[in-house]
């Protein structure tokens, strides 16, 4: 581990992140929200300066730094950048008078596409703040670092480590052998889908502003809505159907969708086991929810509501088209189970991911068969291919750590005064980047009533959950830091004018 490289690359990324504040700045000026505009300008300035300082402090030229990045350094950069950016993105919230812990919670919730909020009074904030909430979702959904890999040519080589550290699925999912091109194509698809949804929502009757905020929140599987009652506040079935469609897309593997689109071949989608399992889960859960809800709303509205809430929770978006806190325990149970599943690998969704459940289920079945046939060769297969043992182990370890982090966080939240249902649902909603839970943190409530320690813990849970647990936990290993040095070679550093 060479800190100079890490600091330098983080500096590069942070400096570019400062540009992201320009969009809400423009909106603030457009709506005449002078004070907010100043906040965004300040945030941009701080990011730029901090980035520049880190970049300088790191020394080596950027091209070299990224090229020489090792695995662990890549993981450290990604973990650190996400933490730094969350703080920077919190500056505008601090500016409008939100406390530090809450501002960080809101900003982390946005970037990790969780969608859990601490805002009590939505009328107190201007358009720019709500756009910023949506934009942090949108950037975090496909990945901030993936975006930089796509637009910065100098990140193209070491970008590989960064790209996969940010979206660590069980398998490397690429649409081009070149990582930069992969990032470009995926971001392009993501942006195109967002534009289509904006147009569709506008046609369904939402204002341009609401359409843009909701689209960014949907495609990113985020869940922030500019309306305090989320989608329930609009009572617009057409908009709900549109969001249902795009939530489904956001929860499916984008690389897979790109391949199917590029080759104009729907069989690529149909033959994918994860997508089939994902679709199956959606259908079964919707049916169960319809059963649990009864038909008092009429058949079609019930199906719409059930489908909406199933997808909202499964894809970890977290919109609410109805206050599901008021639903029966049975219906809530379905939603709670969905919280532990998550979207597909390579999607915008969080959670443990469908593919990991699939692998784990197959592994369990094969282990059962092995007791019948001790000498049998029983590989775990996915899509007709054998899942190698090392990946299998990582999947199992992932679940163990996921449960460990989940238990610890739940313990903390409950210890600081929340009831158990709030603790469990709130923690999984943050760790899985979903958003709303039950009881105190229900869809129409917010996280502001939790103890500050709980809120801070859940902020960390969101960070750990977004980077899929292992990325962060590896970086926290003491031996990584013990073996750390500032620079690879002092003489080399001098030669470059340090």
């Amino acid at each position: 581990m060479r800190y100079s490289l890490v600091v330098h690359v983080c500096g590069v990324l942070v400096r570019y992140f400062s540009a992201m504040f320009l969009a809400p700045l423009a909106v603030a000026i457009y709506y005449g929200e002078r004070s907010d505009a100043l906040g965004f300008a300040l945030a941009a300035a701080i990011s730029a300066v901090l980035g520049h300082v880190m970049l300088r402090a790191g020394g080596t030229s950027a091209e070299e730094a990224v090229e020489r990045l090792r695995r662990i350094e890549g993981l450290t950069v990604v973990s650190a950048v996400w933490l730094i950016i969350a703080h920077l993105a919190a500056i505008p919230y601090l500016w409008v008078g939100i406390g530090f812990i809450d501002a960080l919670f809101e900003s982390m919730s946005g970037l990790t596409t969780t969608g859990a909020t601490i805002l009590r009074d939505f009328t107190a904030y201007g358009h720019a703040v709500f756009l910023w909430r949506g934009l942090t979702h949108w950037l975090g959904g496909m990945g901030v670092i993936a975006l930089f890999v796509a637009i910065l040519p100098r990140l193209s080589i070491g970008g590989r480590e960064l790209f996969f550290a940010e979206s660590p699925g069980p398998s490397e999912d690429k649409v081009s052998p070149q990582i930069r091109r992969t990032a470009v194509l995926l971001w392009r698809l993501y942006a195109a889908l967002t534009l289509i949804q904006v147009a569709a929502l506008r046609l369904a009757g939402l204002s341009w502003f609401d359409a843009i905020c909701h689209s960014m929140a949907t495609l990113a599987a985020g869940g922030f809505s500019p309306h305090p009652q989320s989608l329930a506040g609009y009572q617009n079935p057409a908009a709900e159907w549109i969001i249902i469609t795009f939530m489904f897309i956001a929860g499916a593997n984008f690389a897979l969708q790109y391949r199917a689109l590029a080759r104009r071949d729907a069989r690529i989608l149909l033959s994918d086991e994860e997508l089939r399992a994902y679709t199956g889960i959606v259908i079964v859960s919707t049916a169960l929810l319809v059963l649990a809800l009864g038909l008092s709303r009429g058949l079609l509205p019930t199906i719409r509501t059930a489908l909406f809430q199933t997808l909202s929770i499964l894809t970890t978006t977290g919109f609410a088209s109805e206050d599901f806190q008021l639903w029966s325990e049975q219906a809530k149970m379905v939603l709670l189970v969905l919280m532990f599943i998550g979207g597909c690998a390579g999607s915008a969704g969080g959670g443990p991911k469908v593919v990991r459940h699939l692998v784990l289920a197959r592994y369990t079945l094969q282990s059962l068969r092995r007791t019948l046939h001790p000498r049998a060769v029983l590989p775990v297969k996915l899509g007709g291919r054998v899942v190698p043992d090392d990946i299998l182990q990582v999947v199992i370890v992932f679940f163990l750590f996921y449960l460990l982090v989940f238990s610890i966080c739940t313990g903390i939240v409950v210890a600081f005064g929340a009831d158990i249902i709030t603790g469990i649902s709130g923690t999984i909603a943050c760790l899985g980047n979903i958003g709303p839970g039950f009881n105190l943190v229900g869809p129409m409530a917010n996280y502001a009533d939790l103890h500050p320690v709980s809120r801070f813990t859940l902020t960390l849970a969101m960070w750990i959950g977004r980077l899929e647990v292992l990325t962060v936990l590896v970086v926290l290993r003491p031996e990584v830091w013990r073996s750390g040095r500032w620079s690879a070679d002092a003489r080399e550093g001098r030669a470059q004018g340090l």
């Binding site: 046939h373 049998a376 060769v377 029983l378 590989p379 297969k381």
Partner: protein, 468 residues
């Protein structure tokens, strides 16, 4: 053992040529090469090329010329007389060498080239050597695949120990071993009331094969060969093996080599079969498990009695032993038989062992190289008839022949074909008729004739040769 042989247009074309003395060059003096040389040496000029001096000893006793040298050396091939030869057979153990040899032979002359391969990559999806035509290969023979296909046919015919299909599926052949109390031993053949469209064409008893008459009484221990239309044969199956229609079939394959793997791939396509494959090598086992989807791959030695017992191999309906070693195959098969498997099919490497295996209690002994040799012999000695299958290790065969135009129509019973030949079917246009004695045979009819090896020439002459 039987060997299926599809009719190819090339046969029919060559059928008009008179069989003449041909020069045949064989590259590779292994078992296939030696068997071919032995079979062809009487009627043809055969030159065998091999670079292994030890191989030469084998050919001392055969009336052929042996050339020491590489089959991919142009000069050696020129000396072997490839320029003027009619057939060129590349039968070394290396696929690439065989292909290059065929390509060279084509440069030197215009022989019909036959190339042996052992891997799937040289075949197109239809199983033909399409891609190899560019290398001057006229026909690709893949003995392992042929063997796997043969075994599949036998496995899927319940109770049968041999199975064949002819004329694109309109006729089937099944061979059964009759058990104590079998429905077919209840009385003389004429009283058995076999379904219309099925015919008992042969009985093998005490090492002798003969065509039964109406008065023949079948006994337990006899092997009977029945031919007929698919519908009739289904009824026969139900008669011979009542209760074994429908239900799941448990198949155990011992040995996960080329043949075992291909057989598993084929059998996986049949939903009613539960399949498992025993493979000794851990690495090979992993490869098998990765490529097969429904098959249970077990890592263990098929000759280990304890292992076979712990996996309940005795409960299988069929045991197929296809290890690449005759001794171990025999041991695995006998253990399977001992554990109570009703049908045991065993691969035999050395054709000389075929009869021995069946004598010690294995239901079907079958050889890949034998299949390849028969297949190549068809190509070379086609003649006026086409040999469709060889049954009981060459003691009997099934021919298809076309009745000569000068033949005077007459009913079958006036022909007096005797104990060693029988007309099993008349193919007339789209129709397949399983004849009775009063059925008329017309000129131009295609006949499927079952006969013993000795009777083959006589039968062929009777229907096809012009009276001189």
């Amino acid at each position: 053992m039987a060997t299926g042989q599809g009719r190819s247009p090339a046969f029919l074309v060559r059928a008009t040529l008179s069989p003449a003395l041909l020069r045949i060059v064989i590259v590779g003096g292994g078992q296939v090469g030696a068997s071919l040389a032995r079979a062809l040496s009487a009627d043809h000029e055969v030159v065998v090329v091999d670079q292994d001096p030890h191989v030469e000893d084998v050919f001392q006793s055969i009336d052929v010329e042996f050339l020491l040298g590489s089959g991919t050396n142009e000069e050696v091939l020129a000396r072997a007389g490839v320029a003027g030869c009619g057939f060129f057979v590349a039968a070394t153990g290396l696929d690439e060498v065989n292909i290059v040899a065929c390509a060279l032979a084509n440069r030197l002359g215009q022989p019909q080239t036959i190339c042996l391969v052992s891997r799937a990559e040289f075949l197109d999806s239809a199983g033909a050597g399409g891609g190899l035509a560019a290398f001057g290969v006229n026909r690709v023979i893949w003995p392992e695949a042929q063997l796997a296909a043969d075994i599949e046919r036998i496995v899927t015919a319940p109770g049968a120990i041999d199975a064949e299909v002819f004329a694109g599926g309109v006729m089937r052949l099944l061979e059964y071993r009759l058990d104590e109390g079998s429905a077919l031993t209840s009385g003389p053949v004429s009283t058995l009331h076999l379904p219309r469209g099925a015919l008992i064409v042969a009985v093998k008893r005490a090492g002798r094969i003969f065509v039964p008459r109406g008065t023949t009484q079948l006994a337990s221990g006899d092997k009977v060969i029945v031919m007929g239309t698919p519908e009739a044969m289904q009824a026969v199956e139900a008669r011979v093996h009542p209760g074994r229609t429908g239900g799941r079939l448990q198949v155990t394959i011992i040995g996960g080599g080329d043949v075992g793997f291909q057989l598993a791939q084929r059998l996986e396509q049949i939903p009613s079969i539960d399949l498992r494959i025993l493979e000794r090598g851990a690495e090979r086992g992993a490869v098998l498990a990765a490529s097969l989807s429904r098959t249970l791959v077990l890592n263990g030695d098929g000759t280990d009695l304890e292992f076979l017992e712990s996996e309940n191999v005795g409960r299988s309906d069929v045991l197929v032993s296809v290890i690449d070693n005759d001794e171990r195959n025999l041991l695995a098969s006998l253990l399977g038989r001992q554990l109570g498997v009703p049908k045991v099919i065993t691969r035999v490497g050395r054709p000389a062992n075929l009869r021995l295996f069946e004598r010690v209690g294995i239901d079907v002994a079958i050889s890949a190289r034998g299949a390849a040799v028969v297949s190549i012999l068809h190509q070379i000695t086609g003649g006026a008839t086409s040999l469709l299958a060889v049954v009981e290790h060459g003691e009997a065969r099934v021919f298809e022949l076309t009745v000569k135009p000068t033949f005077v129509s007459r009913p079958l019973k006036q022909m007096g074909t005797g104990e060693d030949a029988i007309v099993a079917a008349i193919l007339r246009g789209e129709q397949a008729i399983v004849p009775r004695g009063d059925e008329l045979v017309h000129p131009g009819d295609h006949l499927l004739v079952f006969c013993t090896q000795e009777a083959a020439d006589r039968v062929r002459g009777y229907f096809t040769r012009e009276a001189s």
